[in-house]
């Protein structure tokens, strides 16, 4: 098979992709169809492109085909497992041959540079987690903002109790919940590594619960630096948002419950 980057090729990779997506102009399309009839390598290339496209479609099922969530375990839509396996098998088979016949090592290295999470690292997280189907919408879990604006130790203590009670409450009912703790103004103290009394407790909660996030306000951070010369160090895992107030408005627009603690 010829190297697709070979300029002597009649049809570029762009041509072939456009053909697969029905985006080629009629004259180009006819020309290509003629060549496909006689050129087996070209046919194979087109076929492989179609397979990649089909795999993408299969990986993200049509919304109507997605089953309802059954607790935390999704039900699969009705794709034939063997057909899929066969598709992948042919693809692999074909590509294995192709890979050896025109060494593309350089291309493979290029791809692996782009910010790829290590596949084996992903493997380490796999054990024991239930399978999650792509649900049509995750609108069901209640979504709650806790807005922290003060650093009074008594209030913060109560707030942490309330937070834990809240998370435990939903867990006990086996219901998922999304909680976002947004801090601005004096409330930032909760998340500052140098002043918070809750380093370990927050770390524990972050580990125990999915869908829990702690948010710090960039504007507050900037003000702290400008007015008091403090460059705050934040706890690990804290999300920094441009503006706490803007975030609150966004969340309210998205239908989150708002609680000022």
């Amino acid at each position: 098979m010829k190297d697709p980057d070979d300029p002597r090729r009649e049809f570029s990779a762009e041509h072939l992709n456009a053909f697969v997506d029905e985006q080629l102009a009629p004259e180009e399309k006819s020309r290509l169809l003629l060549s496909l009839n006689s050129n087996e390598a070209l046919s194979r290339e087109v076929c492989e492109l179609r397979k990649v496209r089909d795999l993408v479609r299969l990986a993200y099922p049509e919304p109507s085909a997605v089953g309802l969530r059954d607790g935390r375990h999704g039900r699969r839509s009705g794709f034939s497992a063997s057909a899929l396996a066969a598709t992948l098998a042919t693809l692999t088979f074909g590509m294995t041959l192709g890979w050896f016949l025109h060494t593309r090592v350089a291309d493979i290295d290029q791809v692996s540079q782009d910010n790829i999470p290590d596949a084996t690292a992903a493997g380490r997280h796999l054990a024991g987690k239930p399978v999650v189907t792509l649900a049509a919408t995750a609108h069901n879990p209640p979504r709650i903002i806790l807005h922290v604006t003060e650093s009074d130790p008594k209030q913060l203590a109560e707030m942490m109790n309330d937070l834990e009670g809240l998370l435990r409450h939903y867990k006990a009912q086996n219901q998922s919940v999304r909680v976002e703790v947004v801090t601005n103004g004096d409330g930032l103290a909760l998340l500052r590594a140098d002043v918070t009394p809750y380093t370990r407790r927050i770390a524990r909660l972050q580990e125990q619960y999915d869908n829990l996030s702690f948010v710090a306000c960039q504007n507050t951070l900037d003000r702290l630096t400008k007015e008091k010369g403090i460059t705050a160090r934040l706890l690990p895992g804290v999300v920094i948002i441009d503006s706490g107030v803007a975030q609150l408005m966004r969340r309210q627009n998205q239908g989150w419950a708002y609680i000022q603690v």
Binding site: I144, Q155, L166, H169, Y170, A257, I259, V261
Partner: protein, 150 residues
């Protein structure tokens, strides 16, 4: 037989209408969130609530006060503070619900019957105790309750 069925249908229809009227949602739904404050502030909050009721009309208003964390002080103080206690009575007569957070009770080791003023400890929605005050506020917001933090 036909006549009996006709009457039965009519009776059921009327019953359905009445049931609907009783179950109809009140127009205005508000949750007041109390999680701190001293006695002076608590009194002020209760007065604000009273004004709110007078402005809207008690039959049109479904108003609930949810207390958690340090907000339980309101009902603790009311055990000794007669003015607070009678204001609470007044508001309850006007239909205000006072809900107490069970998490906080446990955390502060409080006995609802002994330490807090006039709490209905019956389980379920008629009682005054909710498993998590914060969750309760979120649930009410999802049901369309407006949120007020005095």
């Amino acid at each position: 037989m036909k006549k009996f069925l006709a009457i039965l249908t009519a009776v059921l229809a009327i019953g359905a209408l009445q049931g609907n009227a009783l179950a109809a949602d009140k127009q205005h739904k508000v949750v007041y969130h109390v999680n701190g404050g001293d006695e002076k502030q608590h009194m002020a909050t209760l007065r604000n609530i009273d004004n709110h009721i007078n402005a809207v009309g008690k039959d049109k208003l479904d108003l609930r006060v949810v207390m958690h964390g340090n907000g339980l002080d309101l009902l603790q103080s009311a055990q000794k503070n007669k003015a607070l206690a009678s204001k609470i009575d007044e508001l309850k007569l006007k239909g205000v619900g006072f809900k107490v957070c069970e998490n906080t009770l446990r955390a502060k080791k409080l006995d609802a019957k002994k330490d807090l003023y006039d709490v209905n400890v019956k389980k379920g929605p008629e009682g005054d105790i909710v498993p998590s005050g914060v969750a309760e506020i979120a649930i009410l917001q999802n049901k369309g309750f407006a949120y007020i933090k005095p």
